[in-house]
């Protein structure tokens, strides 16, 4: 199957489940912000769960199909249509030559969506993954965002893999957190505050990290640590006192105290919270 991008949408990239072998060399995980949704899309199409898809963010791309094939759309519901006719999310949809897929607006929960194909996107691997790391200009399609005029080849898959469930997006979700390495360096009031807030995601949030808008912590005495490893979900507190939750494209090491870590089962849900929307943190008991 061959597809052509007619409109890019917002922050549209190729992502899979990311890469792990480059961490010691400063190559971050990257990969889908909502891994459950990309796995679900692949499982609907009987793909390997590690196959790549097109990730888009709040505004979907417009795509023309030059050959027939099958697709599935998962994650945020941006009202997808093929040739003006609405199609369902989370199900296998057949497409034919010259069909045009577009997304008409946004009236739902969530941020990230996935356009999955029944087959492998034909691009080279970088450190074992097709994920795009735009900040570093690495991986994916020439290390950059998908743009108008891009053409992708999809090699049709013949293997069969098992099924997974999709992610149910929640309003004001509760996100469980566990103590981070510098937990004990924070005051009791900071620890209480972060576990009690109804947080709001800042507008300057991206694949590298999410800032939390409406909380200001005192922070630790020194305000810094000797650079040490971080993972997606690590919550750092810089001198400003505004916590940052590190996400898929975050650096592999950092120099700010780590108060907490988002539980990995809740990270997909966290990534799907819109800027300006609220959530609760809750210390895992």
């Amino acid at each position: 199957m061959k597809i052509e991008i007619l409109k890019a949408g917002l922050n549209t990239t190729i992502q899979d489940l990311g890469r792990i072998q480059g961490l010691a060399h400063g190559v971050p995980f990257s990969g889908a912000m909502d891994k459950q949704s990309i796995r679900f899309g692949n499982s609907i199409l009987n793909n390997s769960l590690t196959e790549a898809a097109i990730e888009f963010c709040l505004i979907g791309p417009t795509v023309k199909f030059h050959e027939e094939g099958e697709i599935a759309i998962t994650g945020v519901n941006l009202n997808p249509r093929i040739n003006e006719i609405p199609i369902q999310l989370n199900t296998k949809v057949s497409v034919f030559e010259n069909d045009i897929l577009e997304f008409k607006g946004n009236n739902s929960l969530g941020v990230y969506g996935y356009l999955c194909f029944n087959g492998k996107i034909d691009i080279p691997l970088f450190w074992g993954s097709k994920s795009t790391y735009v900040y570093g200009g690495l991986g994916g399609l020439y290390g950059r965002l998908i743009k108008k005029g891009d053409v992708l080849d999809i090699k049709i898959n013949t293997e069969f893999f098992s099924n997974k469930n999709g992610l149910v997006l929640l309003n004001t979700p509760t996100i469980r957190i566990s103590p981070g390495p510098e937990y004990l360096d924070f005051s009791n009031s900071d620890i209480h505050a972060i576990g009690a807030i109804i947080g709001m995601i800042s507008m300057d949030t991206n694949r590298m990290g999410a800032r939390i808008e409406n909380i200001k912590l005192q922070g630790t005495a020194s305000g810094n640590i000797i650079s040490s490893g971080t993972i997606p979900g690590t919550i750092q507190v810089p001198a400003s006192g505004k916590p940052i939750v590190l996400l898929a494209d975050s650096p592999c090491t950092g120099g700010y105290p780590r108060i907490a870590v988002v539980n990995s089962e809740d990270l997909d849900q966290f990534c799907q919270i819109k800027p300006g929307a609220s959530f609760n943190f809750e210390w895992e008991s």
Binding site: I20, Q21, G22, L23, A24, H25, G26, V27, P28, F126, W127, G128, Y133, Y135, G136, G137, L138, P181, I226, S227, S228, G229, T230, I231, P251, C252, T253
Partner: protein, 219 residues
């Protein structure tokens, strides 16, 4: 899982971290999928279906019980740098602050063997120790929004190469034409390697753009 050593930047702690990093990586069958070493700590990623945290702790203690500095082999990497002022965006700041001529700066910067303490911040960014005191220069008051790929910089007692275009506040004194971002584990500089800078001309710089560094085993 995070393993923290004594909270300091020193060669001794670095060697311990490196020994753990190199040893732990040899146990994929024990569920270890990746290790991120830093100055005095490591993050260990393991497959919880194969191994629990206690298993990793036991393995770590066992490795440390056999810690022997002599088992660490050292590789040397020579990084060519063009110190032409057309690349050295801030070289006059560094010369003025330290009362040096350009040729003195080149001599002092190319003389030491720098130790790669860790790699991070962005892909291929080397945290080097060993900068000559006479070259120490504070960061720019206002960081640049874009630093050219390959820029060689100084920030207080640190020196390093920007492997890709990023924002940054280091004082830029030259440019290294090599590609420092490998595409797999066989093609990159590792923590614990020793770096030497070598002064090259603009013409040599042009010829080397995009080539990869070579690791040589030191006897």
């Amino acid at each position: 899982m995070l393993i923290s050593c004594k909270n300091e930047i020193s060669v001794e702690i670095h060697q311990k971290v490196r020994f753990l990093y190199e040893s732990l990586r040899r146990f994929p069958e024990k569920g270890i999928v990746a290790v991120t070493p830093a100055y005095c700590s490591l993050v260990v990623y393991y497959e919880s279906k194969i191994q629990d945290i206690n298993g990793i702790i036991v393995l770590t203690k066992d490795i440390l019980a056999h810690f022997d500095v002599k088992e660490l082999v050292t590789y040397e990497v020579i990084l060519p740098v063009c110190y032409d002022v057309s690349f050295g965006l801030d070289v006059y700041n560094v010369l003025e602050k330290n009362g040096l001529t350009l040729s003195e700066l080149i001599t002092k910067h190319t003389k030491p063997k720098y130790l790669v303490y860790m790699i991070g911040f962005v892909p291929g960014f080397l945290y080097l120790g060993g900068l000559d005191h006479d070259l120490h220069t504070p960061r720019l008051a206002t960081p640049r929004t874009k630093i050219p790929k390959g820029s060689v910089g100084i920030a207080d007692g640190q020196t390093g190469v920007y492997p890709l275009v990023t924002p940054g506040g280091w004082q830029i004194i030259g440019n290294c034409p090599l590609n420092l971002i490998g595409t797999n584990t066989n093609s990159v500089i590792e923590m614990g390697d020793v770096i030497k800078f070598k002064s090259i001309t603009i013409e040599e710089h042009k010829d080397l753009i995009g080539t990869f560094p070579e690791r040589k085993l030191l006897k």
